[in-house]
Symmetry: D3
Subunit: 277 residues, 6 copies
């Protein structure tokens, strides 16, 4: 197979959705893949899920279905449509998807569940488009630096290689905990790594606070401070994650793993050195 066709279905939003489709080809020069995205904006109603068909018509070789809470009817419908077409399907979702984990495994879906990709503080008194955008920015900072972004890319790249090789395709079935994520990030400084774990843990706490503020409290006097606290917390998590990355720079130890044109992954550590296979 010359070119692997990779489809992303995005139903509603989680942090990783904001970047997933770019991760495989950061400089837009990779010759061995083609990417298409079909999204439904902020909503993920069961009515919008069948639109997945628009992507399936393109005949992708593998499909990622990204959404909050993959246990809900919308994403369930979408991944079943992919399965019916006989395509490998990887579900990428957040903590509430843990409920669906066993069923996903049973049904042969791949999955990457990210407990550190927290829900937003979705209260009208608090959330507007700008606050929403910044929340996504902060979540994505944490995911990028603590290794989640790398883990997602690694796993999809591995699947692509397997598709190219033409043999069996082994889909990832991973709960991307702090430890698993950070292991992928390639920190050389152990304190940077500890800070990254802390940042990821903060993102988990954000999820807790936002769930509480959005679903378990009724009075705006009570829940506005909680969702505001959650957003302050993710902002701090983002700062701490960035600080972790900075530490790697201080000794010129920041690992970079760019894609080559043919899709193989290169590696370098010192900023002024060349990446190599």
């Amino acid at each position: 197979m010359d070119v692997v066709k990779i489809g992303f279905v995005k139903l509603g939003n989680i942090g990783i959705s904001r970047i997933a489709d770019l991760l495989l080809d950061e400089r837009a020069d990779r010759e061995d893949i083609e990417v298409r995205v079909l999204g439904t904006g902020a909503k993920m109603s069961p009515e919008s899920a069948p639109d997945t068909a628009r992507l399936l018509d393109w005949d992708p070789d593998v499909v990622m279905v990204l959404s909050p809470n993959a246990a809900l009817p919308g994403p369930t419908k979408a991944r079943e449509m992919v399965k019916e077409k006989g395509k490998p399907c990887i579900v990428i979702s957040d903590a509430p998807a843990m409920k669906a984990k066993d069923k996903l495994k049973e049904d042969g879906f791949g999955y990457i569940i990210i407990p550190g990709d927290p829900m937003i503080g979705a209260r009208r008194e608090f959330l507007d488009p700008v606050e929403m955008s910044i929340f996504n920015v902060d979540v994505l900072s944490v995911l990028s630096i603590t290794g989640v972004v790398k883990l997602v890319q690694d796993e999809i790249d591995r699947v692509i290689e397997e598709i190219k090789a033409g043999g069996e395709v082994k889909l990832p079935q991973i709960v991307a905990t702090a430890e698993k994520a950070v292991a992928r990030a390639g920190f050389s400084n152990p304190y940077a790594k500890a800070k990254a774990i802390a940042a990821y843990s903060m993102a988990e706490k954000v999820a807790e606070l936002d769930v509480k503020g959005c679903f378990m409290m009724k009075d705006p006097e009570a829940y506005v401070p909680i969702v505001a606290a959650a957003h302050e917390l993710i902002a701090e998590a983002a700062k701490l994650a960035k600080e972790a990355r900075e530490i790697e720079k201080y000794t010129d130890s920041l690992v970079r793993m760019p894609h080559a044109r043919k899709g193989d992954i290169l590696k370098k550590t010192k900023l002024m050195e060349k990446p190599s296979a």
Copy 2:
């Protein structure tokens, strides 16, 4: 018209693409719109542009075409497909699109050109998926806080209202300079506003450095420090933008303008007050 159907075509990537489709419905509860996204990942080749047809088949009421350098063949093809269908089309692009501005106006396209949405430091020795993701995070921080995100949302919302009203639709034709963007951000503190202008200006300088490092230099010894400097600079711009937003919090003056269910835009200033029309 009960529900306005809004399409986003994303060809390749600019910073604003990462969030545009979520801006109209931050809490996913808006009843008057439906959103679909069709994207081509990192690449924007002329071959992928015709895929825009997949979105047009959905029969959207208005289509945004987002891409770097809207003057290139890919995005040109895409917007012409939209035009052929007789749909209003708004081009959203970055500084190099200035070349296409007069033609866009002439041909009746809407456009929002964002000089503060800089190209990335696209050098293999420097850019990997994680660095790419962080760059987008930093750009989006600047765009979110300095008013660009608000300007884009305002203009699309205005067009939606006009479509709902059934009269003439006036497409935006705007170069989103620092001054124009910041005017939308609603800063109450003039130093916060000054810092936001500074942050936006830094993003413009990033564009300059990355163009130089990617297109005008040949030796990695020379260009790696330049693209690295550009990424350090956008990180500082993001920090400064965030500091500007923090200042508004210090006097509880941060404006929030959430959407109501019917799509009208509410407003509030004090954190503990209710938003109102």
Copy 3:
């Protein structure tokens, strides 16, 4: 009663223990109370608990028993000794004390349980006296600013007043959650309050990580990063708490509530104004 005699028994250590005995008389000029402390250093074995007798011999009017996990035999023994003497007793402890809460209530003890006073990362590969000291510093920063310190002082002061009044003494029975603590801190800026809640929540997450790293993992390769992350996290929580306090300064709104000589609590807000009753 002219002078109320207040006893503090400290068995082992929690963050609040480091400051509790000073909270009632910050300038050492209060005429209506006398304070004594009996402590057992870092250890809280059942063998050391009976030393509580040394404090009881002094015939205090009320006794605070501070320790980690008040459900353990040591602190249990100590508070029972206080009870046998017929003295009012307030247990001050951390999250694991939740197990003892119902029994404490039943037996008529007062209690203040502080889920945001996390256990330390007690691993030999990680913890030395300096790290221990800094951890306590960071925890105490969070407790001081987020309202826990104020809550503890308020409640003991209230009990003192009741003892002075000679009527019934109502002992506090409080789980000092983020919301309850922050309510005492008197923030005027709602974002400062949100940051304080976030800081307190981070301290709760520290507790989770340290319990995991100390009790649920066996391999130093695994647990050292976790306890190190916990300490990085509490350091960030301390920074965020301090930032919350700084915000109150920006509008000269930091509430100060000093004790007068007779023990009544004064209040002021602007730095240059006088406190008054």
Copy 4:
């Protein structure tokens, strides 16, 4: 001698008092010592000093007497009571204790005088329990990181070893200046060390300002800004000290010297390595 019994008498408060009794056994698992503390809260009147007897009844092998200004009658009385019992006694105090230094030496007392443990801004218009707690936090940050905490622990541990050995006990007689303290902190980075000296020097300046604001000025219009400045200064000193410690982390050079169960002091430098004797 199997177990050395170590007593701490705390009369009034200085920064080091807040942590001294925990320094010898940071993980509460040391088998060769037993610790007891007797404190008098914020006050250090001569009337409370005789309470030292409660600790002496426990028959300690060595007693630390901690207080501000050891030249005052209260602490003088306390240490003389210890001496009468024939127990080795180490006075730990702040800058005003310099007046008593020669007499202490003459009378065979050990002493550790800490000029960088500043008095608080004890003005009713300024100081309340929360401000007091934060001041202690900041002082203790400086003492922990700049080597004072290590020096105090080292010296007491040395005395314990000598008591265990059964020979002569040589009490420390040290003025813990910036240079002497920092030498104990084990910095590997010379700039971290310079920052630590600077932080310690700032703490000395705090002492100057607070003495001026508390004893040499009469008008609140004049002294409130001075004591407020002193507290801002110690907050900066704490931040700088923490920055010094962070620098050691950047090259994974932070020395840790935990106690083993038997009380011997281990050492490690890299975070992921084991401590060893």
Copy 5:
């Protein structure tokens, strides 16, 4: 008198020398004064002092003589030359000039002595041109924000006005302590003012450390850490001063007092308002 001629003689360097000649005419459009500077670079030997004649030949109406330690022969010679010409002379110097204060008063010189303008860490192992430049930058940050720069400008402007009025000229005789300087800075926030006092106090401590490191220690092993600490300390002082200024911005309360063309001093507070007399 239409135009007042103002001379600055700079012998060697102190921080305020770096900016003094620009303070009277920040936008270079003032019509009522003419300024000339005569400097001798880093050195202030008695041999270079007579060069003051070059400035006196210009026939200035008032002369400022700026130097470290005004008690030394060089600056003494220079000011006596000014006096001989019958010109009013204001000595501007640092802490060591306190020795000359009474004599200056007696001899009718004006003076502004600045204890917060510290000597540099003038050790060859430490100081190079870049470090020297940064030290001056940091000192000048402190002087600018804490009110020293304003005090110097105020006093010279007052003298200019008196010269223009043609009556008696009253030369300033001021020791610019923290309190006196800060009073000129016009802070509206009392915590900003407290931080400014703290920053100034830090600069005084820098002077102490540098005197010790340059004159009282002999071994590089001992003095290099001390002068390095002094430079770290002034860097922190500069940061804190800047933070104080930022606080004024948070409530849009930063006072600005520009010169009008005729030399009168205008005033404004809100950034967007006009300055007025």
Copy 6:
């Protein structure tokens, strides 16, 4: 030639003027040079330029003429006076001097043009003496750390050596771009170098904004935010430059190149080592 006489003529102000005369002799102990400065304060009118004669009378061996926009009549007059005396002359100026570059070369002048030495936000509604002083501080921070200060010193020192050697004197003809400046700064960490380039680039952007705000806009409502943004931007540039320098400290790699008494330049890297030739 035993002692080289070096003259500095300062007409009006640019950032480098504030420090240039001290760069050759940071500890004021160099025996091979003598320095004199003649300045005209903030103004650089053609009428003040002839005052250059006062410096020329001193018979300097080389003269630096520092001013904004060296193409203007004032500085042109000054350098021609130097040339007429047959003295080597180096023009040091900012970006607008680029217009004069070819002519300078043709006429045999040396020059160092510094695009990163931006004009100030010279608007009466914005600029007062304190703001002016801080702007200079921030510019000088950038110039000091990014290598401009080193480049200027290097080049003058080279010319001094050539004058001492008695042969031909080759005057520098350099546009001190980010790359050229940073090359002189001797960074060992490539990220520190990238941050320095970013800081310098920010200073260039400041120049753009200030030119726009001072010369191209007419309404204070429009230009005050722009010049305020420019000053916020230079403050950020200064912070980033300082951060770059800090990074060098983290690995004890900060290069120091002090002058020896005879004027030769020594070098050291580790803080505790001796400089050597």
